[in-house]
Amino acid sequence: MTEAALPAPVTAPAVDRERLAAIGFVLPSFVIIAGVFALPLVLLLGVSIVDANGLTFAHYKRLLGTPYYLGVIWNSLRLGLLTTLIAFLISYPAAFALARARGPLRSVLLATLFLPLAASVIVKAFAWTILLRSDGIVNETLMALGIIEDPIRMIFTETALIVGAVNIFLPFMILPIYAIVAQLDPRYAEAAATLGASPVGTFFRVILPLTLPGIIAGVALVFSLSVSAYVVPTLLIGEKYPTLATTIAKAYLLAREPGFGAAAGVVLLGIAIAIVALSARLSREPK
C-alpha cells in the first residue's frame, strides 16, 4: 500500500475559482458603467475646458461670472429647494398615514403613487398645461365657486412651475420615507411613552431620528431631480425661467455651443454629486 502524499487541499483553487466567477459575473455591467457612463462624463469635463483655441476656462468664467448665468444657476437651485421643501412637508405626514393603511385602501393609495411614476414626464406636464389654462378646469372651478371673477393667468408662471414640479417629483419623496416608516417598530414609541416622553417628545426624540435615513434619501433624490428638470420648466414656464437644464439643451440643440453646454453640464453634475456626497455623509452619522 503506497500512501503517497495526501492530495493537496481542494479549498484554495475552489475559492479562486469562485472569485473569478464573481468577477466574470460583474464584468459586463462594469464595462457598461465604465465605458458608457463614467468615461463620457470624464470626456465631458474635457470638452468643457476646450474651445476653438485650445484649453480655456472661458466657458466657466461665463457661466459663473456673468450675473445672467448666475441667475440661471440660482433659478435651478431655487426650483430644487422649493420643490423639495413642499414635497417633504406633504410627504412626511402622508407616509405615516400610508403606513397605517391596510388592505384595499393601502393598495389604492400605493397605486396612486406608482401610476404617475410609470407615466412619462411629458404626459404629466402636458396634463398640467391643460389644467392650468385660462379655460382649464382649475380656473373654471374657481370661478364656479365664486372665488374669482375672471380667469387667473396661471400657465407660464412660477406657481405653475412649482405645482407641476411638486406633482411630478412627489412619489420620489414619499416612497423612500414610506419604506422606512412602514418598518418602524411601534415598540419604540411605546418604550418612549412608558419612559415618560409625551407624544411630541417621542416624535422629536425617537421617531424623527429613526426616520431620518428615509428623509435624507427622499430629499436628496427629489432635489437632484428637480434641480436638473428640463421638461417641466419648458412646458410650464418656458423662457421666463431659464435653468441650467434649459441652458444645456439650448447650447447643444440650438446654439451649437458644445463647450459652453458641457461646462453647464459639469456644473449641474457637480451639484448632483454634492447632493449624493452630502446625503451619504449624513446617513453615515452614528445612529
Binding site: D185, E190, A191, T194, L195, A197, S198, P209, L210
Partner: protein, 359 residues
C-alpha cells in the same frame, strides 16, 4: 403599614377585541415591593393586562389604581410605569448611556443628576464599562440588561416585564432570573412579570397569577400553586401530574369516592354523586408500595426517564389510563420498562376537579 399596603390595584378590568373577550373582569391587588407573575399560555390575556397597566391599551371597563390614584385614563407617559419589552426596544440611534438616560432627559433632569443615575443603573446591571457602546454592538444578554437599566433609571412606581427573558438562551435565562430577583429586591421595586414559562414563574415570584382565557384562575404563592392547584388548568399548566377520569360514587366532608377505570379512588373535593371528575396527584406523591389506606393502582411500566436527582416513571394502568411517578431511588430499586408494579399515594394529596370539555 406602607410595606403591606396595596400598591397597584386592578378592579374589574375587561377588554374585548371584536368578538373575542381578552380580559374578563380581572381583579388583582399587588403590594409594594412584590413580584407577581402573570402566567399562562398564548392568548390568555396576560400581555393585554400588562399593557393595560402600562397604559398602552385601554380597558373597556374597570379601573387601574396606583398608590391610591386612579390612573385608568392617564396616558402612559404620565404613569411612571416602566416596561421592559421582549424585543427590548432599545433606541438604535442612541448609545447605551443615551438609552438609559432617556427617561431622565425627558423629565428635564439636570445633567449631573442624569449622569449619576445612569452610572447607578448601569452598575446595578454590571454594564458600567459599556456606557458608550452602540446598541448594535451588544449581545442579546447585554441588550437585555440595558433595557432593564433604562427601565430602572427613572425609578418607576411599577416595573413591568413582558416576556423579557424569552429571547435569551437557557443558561443565560436562568442566570438572569436569579439576578433579576436579587436586583428587584435590592431596589425594592414593585414588579409584574409576564411569562408562559412555569419554571420561571415559580423561581422568581412572590405570587403567581395563573391566567386562562382572560380570567385569573388562581393567584397564590408558588408553593401553594404547585401543591394546591385550584383548577384543572392550573394543575396542568404548572408541574406534572397523574390524571384519571371517573364518576363520583359517594361524597362526604370534603372527600369523594370516585369510580375509575383503575379502581376506586378517594380524593379531596366537593361534588354531587354522579358528577364526572378528574382525579389527580403530583408525581412525587406516588410510591412503590402496598399501603392500606391510600389510593393505589397497578400497571406495567411504559417508560423510565432518568433526570439526575429524580427519575420519572410512566405506568400503563390499563384502559387507556396512565400513572406518572417521580421516584428517587431511596425507597428501593427503580423499576425497569415492562415491570409490573403497584403505586400508592395519600388521599390527602389527591385532588378532584370537574371534568371539562377541554382540559
Amino acid at each position: 403599614m406602607s410595606e403591606a399596603a396595596p400598591h397597584l390595584v386592578v378592579r374589574g378590568v375587561s377588554k374585548r377585541y371584536g368578538p373575542t373577550t381578552v380580559l374578563d373582569h380581572i381583579d388583582l391587588t399587588i403590594r409594594r415591593g412584590e413580584l407577581v407573575t402573570l402566567l399562562g399560555p398564548s392568548g390568555c390575556g396576560k400581555t393585554t393586562l400588562l399593557r393595560a397597566i402600562a397604559g398602552l391599551a385601554q380597558p373597556d371597563a374597570g379601573k387601574v389604581e396606583l398608590a391610591g390614584r386612579d390612573i385608568t385614563n392617564v396616558p402612559p407617559h404620565k404613569r411612571n410605569v416602566s416596561v421592559v419589552f421582549q424585543s427590548y426596544a432599545l433606541f438604535p440611534h442612541l448609545t447605551v448611556a443615551g438609552n438609559v438616560a432617556f427617561g431622565l432627559k425627558v423629565r428635564g433632569a439636570a445633567k449631573r443628576e442624569i449622569d449619576a443615575a445612569v452610572e447607578r443603573a448601569l452598575s446595578l446591571v454590571k454594564l458600567g464599562h459599556l456606557a458608550g457602546r452602540r446598541i448594535s454592538a451588544l449581545s442579546g444578554g447585554q441588550q437585555q440588561r440595558v433595557a432593564l437599566a433604562r427601565a430602572i433609571a427613572v425609578e418607576p412606581d411599577v416595573l413591568l416585564f413582558d416576556e423579557a427573558l424569552s429571547a435569551l438562551d437557557r443558561k443565560l435565562r436562568e442566570e438572569m432570573q436569579v439576578e433579576l430577583r436579587r436586583l428587584l429586591q435590592d431596589v425594592k421595586a414593585t414588579a409584574i412579570f409576564v411569562t408562559h414559562d412555569q419554571d420561571e414563574a415559580l423561581t422568581m415570584s412572590d405570587r403567581v397569577a395563573v391566567m386562562n382565557k382572560g380570567r385569573i384562575e388562581q393567584l397564590a404563592e408558588p408553593r401553594e400553586l404547585y401543591l394546591r392547584p385550584a383548577s384543572l388548568f392550573a394543575l396542568n399548566f404548572v408541574g406534572l401530574s397523574t390524571r384519571i377520569a371517573g364518576t363520583v360514587l359517594a361524597a362526604s366532608n370534603g372527600k369523594v369516592d370516585v369510580e375509575t377505570k383503575v379502581g376506586r379512588l378517594s380524593a379531596l373535593g366537593n361534588f354531587q354523586t354522579g358528577s364526572s371528575v378528574i382525579v389527580a396527584a403530583r408525581p412525587e406523591q406516588l410510591r412503590i408500595s402496598e399501603q392500606g389506606d391510600a389510593n393505589s393502582a397497578a400497571g406495567r411500566v411504559r417508560s423510565v426517564v432518568f433526570q439526575g436527582s429524580r427519575t420519572l416513571v410512566e405506568v400503563d394502568a390499563g384502559a387507556g389510563e396512565s400513572l406518572l411517578a417521580e421516584l428517587s431511588g431511596r425507597d428501593g430499586a427503580i423499576p425497569r420498562v415492562h415491570d409490573e408494579i403497584r403505586l400508592s399515594w395519600p388521599v390527602t394529596e389527591t385532588f378532584a376537579f370537574p371534568m371539562e370539555a377541554q382540559a
